[in-house]
């Protein structure tokens, strides 16, 4: 039987500080100009390097290169992925722009692989809305001469450079936002799978390490011994607060509204505490040694998830003596 699995997506819009060189490069793209960086050996790198690869001194000499260039080598993709420049089949190419000494990796909207060849002439297709971002280059397209886009925009490519807004437009871009989306499939271990299936039945199980005899909840390969657990041990849905904190601060990714108490709860029969919420009692009344019991969600909502237990609340039993949990701090 396959163990449980589920998708996980991690996403964030990262804010790249560009620094002086790449900031000027991005500002150039905004006005449909491609800037290369001249290094001490006279070569022009596109995109520009921030530091000279030979002398390691800062690169300061930026020169404009042509929006047209030559394909140095290429490959073809029939199945574009999320986040790639085009959503239809396209060529990945290393393109040396006229005036540059290095090649730039980008997409060529060639329609068919039959059109692609090494040595073919290509030109930049500019994005209509340009913000000073690498995506201001939408892609490349076959052809020579001025980009077709310029005609579409109804203005020649060089206007912005010389217009009244030129100085403003040339202000370096400081930050470029880069969205990152990572998709994973999280597959549970055999131990985690058994634990989750028990939770769906309203039971909490641990497993005992055959070497140190400690009961781990959730069950796992013993972190201390490195040995797979064997004996399955029923564990109570009540236990002792070993220690805790009161979360008063909001933060990114948070799923509860502060303030709330997150406690380490040592379930009866387990040898390691689990973190959980303590509700049903004012935060200032939560204390080390407090006895608590699980509050389960309605049985109809149970699934293979620890969220079947909504939170813990005081059980009404006398506090556990410090000595009974001191070794779990």
């Amino acid at each position: 039987m396959d163990t449980l699995s589920a998708p996980l997506t991690i996403a964030f819009d990262y804010t790249r500080s560009l620094g002086p060189v790449l900031g000027r490069f991005m500002a150039g793209l905004r006005e449909r100009r491609v800037l290369g960086g001249r290094t001490s050996d006279g070569r022009v790198h596109v995109p520009p390097l921030e530091y000279d690869p030979v002398t390691l001194t800062p690169v300061t000499d930026l020169v404009e290169v042509s929006p047209t260039g030559t394909v140095v080598t290429w490959t073809w993709t029939d199945h574009p992925r999320e986040g790639q420049p085009l959503d239809r089949p396209f060529g990945w190419a290393l393109i040396r722009l006229d005036g540059a000494d290095t090649a730039l990796l980008h997409a060529v909207d060639a329609g068919s692989a039959e059109v692609m060849r090494t040595g073919m002439r290509v030109r930049i297709r500019w994005a209509v809305d340009r913000t000073g971002h690498i995506n201001d280059i939408e892609c490349f397209e076959p052809g020579d001469g001025p980009p077709a886009q310029d005609a579409r925009d109804g203005q020649p490519a060089q206007t912005a450079r010389d217009g009244p807004q030129a100085q403003t437009a040339r202000e370096p871009v400081t930050i470029m936002t880069t969205p990152i989306r990572l998709h994973y499939r999280h597959t549970t271990s055999a131990e985690e799978d058994g634990y989750l299936r028990a939770l769906a039945d309203g039971r909490i199980i641990g497993q005992r390490c055959p070497a140190c005899r400690k009961v781990y909840v959730p069950p796992r390969v013993c972190p201390a011994c490195g040995i797979a657990p064997d004996e399955v041990v029923p564990v109570a849905d009540r236990g002792t607060v070993t220690t805790f904190c009161v979360v008063n601060v909001p933060f990114a990714g948070q799923r509860l509204t502060p303030p709330y108490v997150v406690a380490q709860v040592l379930l009866d029969g387990a040898d390691i505490p689990v973190p959980h919420l303590i509700l049903g009692v004012p935060a200032e009344a939560v204390r080390m040694g407090l006895r608590v019991a699980a509050v389960w969600r309605d049985r109809s909502a149970w699934a293979t998830t620890p969220e079947n237990i909504d939170h813990f609340e005081p059980s009404g039993e006398p506090d556990a003596p410090y000595e009974s949990f001191a070794e779990h701090l």
Binding site: F12, G19, V249, L256, M288, I309, A326, H328
Partner: protein, 383 residues
Amino acid sequence: MRRAAVLGTGQTRHGTRRTDVSMTGLCREAIDRALADAGTDWSQIDAVVLGKAPDLFEGVMMPELFLAASIGAAGKPLLRVHTAGSVGGATAIVATSLVRAGVHRRVLAVAFEKQSESNAMWALSIQPPFSAPITAGAGGYFAPHIRSYIRRSGAPSHIGAMVAVKDRRNGALNPYAHLRQPEITLESVQESRMLWDPIRFDETCPSSDGACAVVIGDEAAASSSDRQVAWIRATAMRTEPTFYSGKDHVNPRAGAEAAAALWAAAGIKDPLNEVDVAELYVPFSWFEPMWLENVGFVRPGQGWKFVESGETSRDGCLPVNPSGGVLCSNPIGASGLLRFAEAAMQVMGRAGEHQVTGAATALGHAYGGGSQFFSMWVVGRNP
């Protein structure tokens, strides 16, 4: 074993948002200062070791790939080190090992974090499927362990605030520090917002952009330096699982064992009397008394009394974090290397306004993960 020494150190001006520089520029700001301080140039660097905390913080997988050329690694060995928050310390130790093994004469160690590229609280709170939504953030992870320390040692509640006042005032003397608060008082700390009870706002490190670099050389390189070097008398690293039954989160075994190995290797029998200054990794103020006990300066339960006596202030018998420490600047990946570099700066006599007079022996210390990775070194004015 062959000798090794810190020839020079460099660090950035640390701040919340260093949007004036890229990651590359940030690293180079520290590296260029370290090379100048060491009196070396690129031609004399034989290898580069780079450390930073999880790649999710900047969203760039393996940043060493795009950084390699700009940090002088082209044509030379480049190693990347990963040990969470302790990585800066581990980076210095890897570089030291390359020199001590006789592989290289001069090695550049650099570590950085550009926290402004994302949000570390978010990155540390990723919730996998099948887990309960019990996230509490970085402070929420450590706050319960601080509560355990207070319970176990009987420490009064003002100890954390005392450490915060000391470190923030120290940071005011450090031109590179992110937070510089000469006016801070015990009362203002105690009135600051409670974030993760028992941790208050002013007892918490900032989120910083920053980098640190050191040049480590062998005995010949050290001898040819015309400036005072910091001799690396011993290094130690130890690891333990993040969680296991019976783990002591207050006084972690890996930290205690690393320290014991460190003192033995350095020939130090009485750390409190033989060490002149310590740079401890203290992201939350209460970790100062906890680490004072863990590394063996004082016995378990005595750390808070030592803090309360004022002996960890700059004029005390063991100044701790005269630079202001992590409480004043926390570019996570660089924070460990900053502790190691600040220890070296003290024994080289180049710590500026926060120089501890006569410092001849210093400890640099870092930890990371859930008190899982520990790295330390002892540096001295003499070998």
